[in-house]
């Protein structure tokens, strides 16, 4: 028997390494970073600044190589041909010098600089695949039939990479302020984002589970990372226990799906289900329910939202920014992939459940937010209501629905990172000053920051000329297109309700008067955090005024299932 085992070669999957490049950059980078930092804990004071400055040009080179390796041609080949080679390469060198200068003026730490570099390289790799491979050859499989590279996965991978960059910039100043310096937070974030990328492209329920666990376990630890704050510990533990519970539901759902369809592979599931061989679908209904519970937890949809306010309030604020952006985006990507691709033939069976979730989430998110007095809790509920909006797009179960979800996810990522970024810098040491009263008079102390926060909040409320408006518009448009008027009406009504919440924060910033012992004294904010908030602001306003490019991007980004071939 053993001899036979030796003789039969196991079929090994075919791997397209270029398609995995963003994933590889993030995970291998995380491993190398932690290895480097566990050996070299302290750098000599006269070496460290130069090393950090060098990260700038190295990042530019890294992006260049990542994009080149991911694609099939030299990156920016068109531009090079237009400019002529010498001018182009001189330009590149100039960009490198500029990057070095930027890093130097930002005064960021080594770990943060490396993380930003890795995030940008992963972003460049995603862009390279998008521009030079996916648009040329169409969607393809990267590992056997387990991991697909399609526009949808690439868009979300880009979102994840971007949120890694922005949150790393926020984390740098935060960790220094709280004296929590160390590479761990960055490493966990990189690993978490790698898990998220696995989720976005997974073509198999088991691979989705693998991704979701990699993503979640890292975030559990990140939530508990502020080891001197009890709230942070509490948040980590709560998130972990409830998250493990939700994972069990998800796994149970996967088992039921396997029982009903005989496979965990989405391609096989789709083929089996659309062939109509399934006569009694009780098992499949149970599977839908359990999978929805599992995903609903990750995206914080009511009634599985109970952890959200406590965890958002307790966890370190930049981590909350990451949870609200990357984790949510990855969760929606996986949800959409499983239901829209794997289970599309049974859309009439799962659509009512998603509709109920959406309505409940919208109502809970907007109504509960009003009675809160802590800004982090308010934003937690508002993120719940945003999940409801995205669910409206999922519920539409149409091309427009998918596009609106993609658009919403991108826009919301920047909005929420910006909002929590502002909170990070104004909440004072130990994240203490997060109540509504602490924001009183912020417009006088920090006029620019208060203005940006106002814009982020208005964008979350869906005021025109911001990306938030376009996102909400597209989602409701998708619902109307599919003729679900009642859902569109619920969504619009709850948007009005939650607008009240955002206005409350704005009012307290502009009209409230600070009492004498305000925790936030208007000290200069860390430059890196300022850069992150600025980028988020630019994106929010930019895509609000000119939504066209992002809209086109989102409508290109369609998920696809490719069989083993």
């Amino acid at each position: 028997m053993l001899a036979q085992l030796d003789a039969t070669p196991v079929e090994t999957p075919e791997i397209v390494w270029a398609g995995l490049l963003p994933l590889l950059i993030l995970s291998a980078g995380a491993l190398l970073l932690v290895m480097l930092r566990s050996v070299v804990k302290r750098l000599p004071a006269d070496v460290e600044p130069h090393l950090i400055t060098a990260i700038g040009p190295i990042t530019v080179l890294g992006m260049w190589f990542a994009a080149g390796l991911a694609g099939t041609d030299v990156p920016l080949a068109g531009l090079r041909d237009d400019m002529g080679e010498p001018a182009f390469y001189i330009g590149l060198a100039l960009v490198m010098v500029l990057a070095g200068t930027l890093v130097r003026t930002m005064e960021i730490g080594l770990d943060a600089a490396i993380t930003v570099g890795l995030g940008l390289s992963a972003f460049a790799a995603t862009w390279g695949i998008w521009d030079d491979r996916w648009q040329v050859t169409g969607p393809f499989n990267a590992i056997g039939d387990q991991f697909a590279v399609d526009g949808f996965a690439l868009l979300f991978a880009g979102v994840l990479a971007a949120s890694v960059v922005l949150v790393a910039l926020l984390l740098d100043g935060y960790l220094r302020r709280e004296s929590l310096d160390g590479p761990e937070m960055y490493v966990l974030m990189l690993l978490s984002a790698a898990g998220g990328i696995v989720m976005t492209g997974a073509n198999d329920l088991i691979v989705i589970f693998l991704g979701i666990e990699t993503l979640s376990i890292a975030v559990y630890v990140m939530a508990a990372m502020h080891n001197r704050r009890t709230e942070s510990q509490e948040a980590g533990l709560k998130y972990f226990v409830l998250g493990a519970f939700a994972s069990a539901f998800l796994l149970y759902g996967i088992a039921f799906t396997y029982g009903a369809t005989g496979s965990t592979n989405l391609v096989d599931i789709q083929i089996f289900l659309s062939s109509g061989q399934l006569v009694d679908n009780g098992l499949l209904m149970a599977a839908f329910g359990l999978l929805l519970v599992g995903f609903g937890f990750k995206i914080a949809a009511a009634p599985f939202h109970a952890w959200t306010p406590d965890v958002y309030q307790g966890a370190p604020t930049p981590v909350v920014a990451f949870m609200a952006s990357a984790v949510k985006a990855a969760g929606f990507a996986a949800l959409l992939r499983v239901f829209m691709l794997g289970f599309f033939s049974h859309v009439d069976d799962w659509r009512p459940a998603i509709g109920a979730l959406a309505v409940l989430t919208l109502i809970v998110g907007s109504v509960m937010a009003i009675v809160q007095s802590d800004v982090k809790r308010m934003l937690a509920y508002s993120s719940i209501s945003h999940a409801g909006f995205i669910l409206v797009g999922v519920h539409a179960a149409s091309l427009a629905g998918i596009n609106s979800v993609a658009f919403y996810a991108v826009a919301y990522t920047f909005l929420v990172i910006g909002s929590f970024g502002v909170l990070t810098v104004v909440s004072g040491v130990g994240d203490r000053a997060t109540s509504l009263d602490d924001l009183n008079g912020m417009a006088k102390r920090r006029p620019v920051l208060a203005f940006m926060f106002t814009v982020f909040l208005l964008a979350q409320a869906g005021v025109p000329l911001t990306a938030g408006f376009v996102a909400k518009f597209e989602v409701i448009n998708a619902a109307v297109d599919s003729e679900f008027y009642w859902l569109a009406i619920v969504a619009m009504l709850t948007a009005v309700v939650s607008a009240f919440l955002y206005l409350r924060i704005v009012l307290s910033m502009y009209l409230g008067t600070a009492d004498g012992d305000a925790a936030d004294l208007g000290d200069p904010i860390p430059k890196a955090a300022g850069l992150a908030i600025g980028i988020a602001f630019a994106v929010t306003v930019g895509f609000g005024i000119l939504p066209g490019p992002l809209s086109d991007l989102a409508s290109d980004a369609l998920p696809a299932l490719i069989g083993a071939g």
Partner: protein, 158 residues
């Protein structure tokens, strides 16, 4: 194949019966006159003054947690060791990547002092306990030699 487990069960029962039988025999044969001193915790003759310890150094706990992670990782080697023939170079590369990841977390643990035990020779030496003129033979301070005009050692001071 399950047939091979019956003897194990039989041996298990036999061993348990042997232990139980010994207890019963000892219960019948042994004298029984306990006293307070006999039943107290043994502390080398000193009357126990404090409650039972329920805490022990957290380092042991840390070792236990690290062990669980490592043991699970090592268990993954067994399926590979049995089936490596069919997996070929692909399997080899994968197991190498896996091993690298294991090793990398190992370096992290060691670099952060999770497995640091023992004394720090450079700093922790209490002053006075060790003779300043210790010899290559011994580091023990020679007490009582100072005022007698006897040289502390024969010039081999290290």
């Amino acid at each position: 194949m399950l047939g091979q487990y019956l003897p194990l069960l039989a041996l298990l029962l036999l061993a348990a019966a042997f232990a139980a039988g010994s207890f019963i025999a000892s219960g019948l044969l042994a004298p029984r006159n306990p006293s307070l001193a006999k039943r107290a915790a043994y502390e080398c003759g000193i009357v126990p003054s404090r409650e039972t310890p329920e805490r022990f150094p957290v380092r042991f706990f840390l070792v236990a947690m690290i062990f669980i992670v490592f043991d699970i990782e090592i268990i993954f080697f067994y399926p590979y060791a049995v089936a490596f023939g069919g997996l070929g170079v692909f399997g080899l590369v994968l197991i190498m990547v896996f091993t690298f990841a294991v090793f990398e977390s190992f370096v992290y643990l060691i670099g952060n002092g999770a497995l640091e035990w023992g004394p720090l020779k450079q700093v922790a030496r209490p002053s006075g306990a060790v003779s300043p003129d210790r010899t290559v033979e011994t580091t023990i301070r020679r007490v009582g030699l100072e005022d007698r005009g006897i040289p502390a050692d024969d010039g081999q001071a290290a």
